[in-house]
Amino acid sequence: MSELVDVEQEPFRVAVVGPSRVGKTTLLTAILSETERQLAGTGVRILAGETTEERIHQQRRALRRAIAAEEFDAAALSGNQTTSLYEVVLRADSEPGVAPQDRIDIEIPFSILDYPGGWLNPVTRNRSAEAQQQWPACEDHIQRSVMLLVPIDAAVLMEARKPAERGSVVDLLGIEEVTAMTRLWARSRKDSGSEPAVLVLAPLKCEKYFDDNGGGGKEAPRLRQLVQDTYRDAVEAAEAEAPGRVKVVYAPIDTYGCVELMEPIWHDVGGEYLEFTGHYRFRGRPPRIQEKAAATVMRELCRSVISAQAARNTELARAATEEQRRIFERRYLRKGFFGALTFYLSGEAWWARRDGILTAKQLIAAKQSERKLNSALRSLSTEADDPRVEVWQLR
């Protein structure tokens, strides 16, 4: 059982690559909010870790201030210079009637790492002590991630009308870094057997371009085309590195639903490319936050978990001999995704964490939570996709 001890702290991992201030915290907030709504009544909650929770609170406070002031200005995009780890858990609470001392909360942790794309370049890494120190951990995280999430500033893509503006898109969205990162991630996915591999291309700030969430935009096709064109290299790199393994999900997300780009502003600050900011306005009175398609990220994670579990069970069922079963078990008990899968979904996690002998009540409560969590996961994963979301078939 030594392997089980090793995987105790192992969360399901997601790597994020994209410029800072593209709205990652907002995205996470949106993901949490929408997922929360969808989990309503399941007895399963989605919770952020302490640091993550604090970031989310800050972001929500800023939004409230902006609504009050009726003025919303997004920060300018810039290259991400530091790492941020967002921690999220899906937690199945014990039944209401269970006494506090008998409660056993079952949870699945997700770990979302955002780090500078520039660190992929050894030369850049060598210039930063932080990079040199943190890179091994980052690389490990990337290689273990079942999902690569690429947040995209839709406004940058859509509002680049003039040649100089169009010429700035590649730099502003860090396309080179995204492509390199995708290649690295996909390569590790190939090496990790039948583990899931989901690439999510997530345009953010899409309110202006769609007419399905209170806006009047009719530019969804143009956005899709621009994303396809701009991220073609990244998508092709994924397919090249892990043929037939990567699922590419296109998920244009409204992180607010009530904030719409009013005036794009391109600044020439003397650099190699133009800087982009925008004037935004609130839609509706009072503005009401109404995320759209944000739950896609969580849903895809759940699907990865569920489909992997099914695959594992199938393989085990096919194993004809005891010896084969033992080999499979050993493989699945290794660290990594399948280790985590077994650990969290089979109840071993709480079993391993126990501080002694469970009482019968505790055991029952734990089993109930386990069932709820599994049920919620299945429910989330089988929820229909938002109509905006597409799975792009490669080739």
Binding site: E159, K162, P163, D211, G214, G284
Partner: protein
């Protein structure tokens, strides 16, 4: 007479040849003005004047034939030195008397060349008088030249006041021996100048004729003869005013019709140019000449002067054999038989080389004896002419033919070598030249249009930025945005706007009406403000036309006129359309190019309006909630500000969208203009009618399209070609004529 058509044909032919020689002369003059040294050298010794002289000689020979064969009378000239009985013979033959043809003694009497026609029905005379100018030029000038007296008077006034030397000794220069110059000076000074008053009135400004009736014929003498020496005082010398006299009377010879006598004065007279006058009288006008010689004691031998006079006649006989043309009349009247015999012997021995009538027929008769004249002279002459005239006619005709043929040979010889030399210098034919020009023009237009199309194409590339256009869009956008932010045009900005709308909101107990009206106003205003982009579209269209005009290349540029590119192209279109030679394909291509539509209303307004629909409340279900939410705003100052923020935010979004849409316009424009350009290129240089149209343009506008070729290599080519053509035409005329006559 049968020769007449041939003579007429040949005359017309040689007249044409003379015209061609003149053309050749002009072409060679033109060639020599250029700088084509090879061609100039090749034609350097081509003597056009000599060629013309050959043609003139041929025409002269033909004129002789025509004059002979078309004459209705037999003209017998009577010649002879003074005092040999010439006038007496004329009297005997014509029946005229001393009153009309004086036959005085002791001095020359016949002053004017006269022709006397036999007519049984009419008697009279016609005198042709000199004009003042012809008198000066034809009568005075020869004397002045002979006597070296300058300047020759040009008017009678100058003549009357001319100071002549008193004696011939005072004459200077080469004026000949005194015995000749002295009498001439006397005649000029004493007879003409002094007697000028007696004939001045007949020298009018114009030549004119005086007709004398039968009854007036008696006065003829004073018109044609010197006044008698017996005249005292101012002699009447009106004969100086007479240029020519034609007398018609009934000859005393019944059996002769169509006979004319020509009195040939001058031989042996001391009159300048007498010999030339004599020849002029003989040539072409006389069929036969009787030379009268009266052997007196001092004039019994055939003298040198007689020989000289005879030679003049021989010279004038032209093609006719001398024996057929001349006879010598030994005027025996009043002469001693010894003298007569001596003369006849002398003529036989020296003139006829020992044989009677070997070269010259000799008749002996008394010219005063009409009977003798009739029988021995006239009848003999007429009998001779009966056989000699056809022979002479044939001779003259053959001579003319030979002259024509010789002329042709000479001309062919002259031009042949030069033609070969010029032909060796290559020049294209006119058709080929025009075809080359057409190709040159088409190639030039093709090249330049292609370059222009490439420019248009470059502007359609993703990387091409029409910065000027984009800047203009930004400006228009910024102005519209400022208008919104600054209170929708209300002076005082947002606060003033709120102040203005608040009463309305209160009256309506809500913002609905204000919202509706404001949005309506904004839509109109924004649509109008973006109209400013029209100037940029107009500019691009003008640039397109300018580029197109430039794309036609430098030759077409010579046809372009106008202040604006559009005017330039319209003028070109009209020029081509109104040209003598049609070029419909080119005109159509220009029409289409001029129909480029690139204006705001046509191109952009529909798109702009689609964007403006976002400012229509309740227009779209997806956005109506935004408008419903505005209706909940309170009719307070705060509500007014919130309404402003909501509406202005929407308006700014729309302005952004329109600006974004317009930012894509340069690419769209570039594609449109490229399409127009390519369409024009196709229609202008590749349509089925293009080759013909370009040939027509080349033909019709050659001078404008190739203005530099007023001089230069191409002009040299034209000059050489012109000289070649002139020589070729002449050569063909000469060669073709030979064939047709051969």
């Amino acid at each position: 007479m049968r020769q007449i058509p041939m003579v007429e044909r040949e005359t017309a032919y040689w007249t044409t040849v003379r015209g061609m020689i003149a053309d050749l002369g002009a072409a060679l003059d033109d060639l020599r003005e250029g700088d084509e040294v090879t061609a100039i050298a090749a034609t350097a010794d081509l003597d056009v004047a000599a060629m013309d002289a050959i043609a003139v000689a041929a025409l002269g020979a033909l004129a002789g034939v025509r004059s002979r064969v078309s004459r209705r009378t037999i003209n017998i000239g009577v010649s002879g030195r003074a005092r040999n009985g010439k006038s007496t013979l004329l009297q005997s033959l014509s029946g005229l008397t001393d009153d009309q043809i004086p036959a005085g003694r002791g001095q020359p009497v016949t002053a004017v060349r006269s022709s006397i026609y036999h007519s049984t029905v009419r008697t009279g005379a016609v005198l042709t008088l000199h004009s003042e100018a012809s008198f000066c030029a034809e009568v005075l000038a020869p004397y002045h030249r002979a006597l070296n007296l300058m300047p020759t008077p040009r008017t009678l006034e100058e003549f009357s006041t001319f100071r002549y030397p008193l004696t011939a000794d005072e004459l200077t220069g080469d004026v000949g021996p005194h015995p000749k110059s002295g009498p001439m000076l006397v005649r000029l000074r004493d007879e003409m100048q002094r007697a000028l008053p007696s004939f001045r009135r007949y020298l009018t400004g114009h030549q004119r004729e005086i007709t004398l009736s039968e009854s007036e014929l008696g006065s003829l003498r004073q018109w044609v003869a010197y006044p008698p020496a017996t005249d005292v005082g101012m002699p009447d010398r009106r004969h100086f005013a007479v240029r020519d006299a034609t007398v018609t009377c009934r000859f005393p010879i019944d059996d002769v019709a169509d006979l004319a006598l020509v009195d040939l004065p001058g031989l042996g007279e001391l009159v300048p140019d007498a010999d030339r006058h004599h020849l002029d009288g003989l040539k072409d006008d006389v069929d036969f000449v009787i030379v009268v010689k009266r052997p007196t004691d001092t004039n019994a031998l055939w003298s040198v002067e007689d020989g000289d006079a005879l030679q003049l006649i021989i010279d004038a006989s032209g093609a006719a054999a001398v024996r057929d043309f001349v006879t010598i009349l030994v005027n025996s009247g009043g002469c001693a038989a010894e003298n007569i015999d001596a003369l006849k012997r002398d003529i036989r021995d020296r003139l006829n080389e020992g044989l009677d009538d070997r070269s010259y027929n000799v008749i002996t008769a008394d010219s005063a004896d009409r009977q003798q004249v009739k029988e021995k002279v006239l009848q003999v002459v007429l009998e001779h002419l009966a056989t000699a005239l056809p022979r002479m006619d044939a001779d003259v005709f053959a001579f003319a033919q030979a002259a024509c043929e010789t002329g042709r040979e000479q001309l062919r010889g002259l031009i042949g070598r030069h033609l070969a030399a010029l032909r060796s210098i290559h020049t294209p034919s006119e058709l080929l030249r025009l075809d080359h020009k057409r190709t040159e023009l088409l190639d030039e237009v093709t090249t330049h249009l292609h370059a222009w199309i490439e420019e248009l194409q470059a502007r359609t590339g993703a990387e091409y930025a029409d910065q000027e256009f984009l800047d203009e869009v930004t400006k228009v956008q910024d102005r519209a945005r400022s208008w919104v932010i600054d209170g929708f045009g209300v002076e005082g900005g947002q606060a003033a706007w709120v102040e203005q709308v608040l009463p309305k909101m209160l009256r309506a107990a809500g913002p609905a009406t204000v919202m509706q009206n404001t949005l309506n106003g904004i839509r109109t205003e924004i649509a109008i403000r973006f109209n400013d982009i029209d100037s940029m579209l107009d500019k691009r269209r003008n640039e397109f036309w300018k580029g197109l005009a430039g794309g036609l290349g430098p030759r077409f540029a010579n046809l372009l006129q106008g202040d604006s590119p559009e005017e330039v192209l319209r003028n070109l279109r009209d020029t081509l359309d109104s040209a003598d030679h049609d070029s419909p394909s080119l005109v159509k291509a220009l029409d289409q190019a001029l129909d480029v539509r690139l204006d705001y209303r046509t191109r952009l307004l529909p798109e702009v309006w689609r964007k403006l629909e976002a400012l229509m409340p309740y227009h779209r279900k997806e956005t109506e909630e935004q408008f419903f939410s505005m209706l909940t705003l309170a009719a307070t100052a705060e509500g007014g500000h919130q309404l402003f923020n909501q509406i202005s935010g929407l308006a700014r979004s729309v302005i952004t969208d329109i600006g974004g849409m317009l930012s894509g316009e340069p690419s769209a424009n570039a594609l449109i203009l490229l399409a127009y350009g390519q369409y024009f290129e196709d229609a202008f240089i590749r349509s089925a009618g293009t080759p013909d149209d370009f040939l027509n343009v080349t033909t019709g506008f050659q001078d404008q399209l190739w203005p530099e070729e007023v001089s230069g290599p191409a002009t040299s080519t034209v000059r050489i070609q012109r000289a070649k053509d002139a020589l070729n035409h002449l050569n063909q005329a000469l060669t073709g004529s030979k064939r047709s006559n051969g």
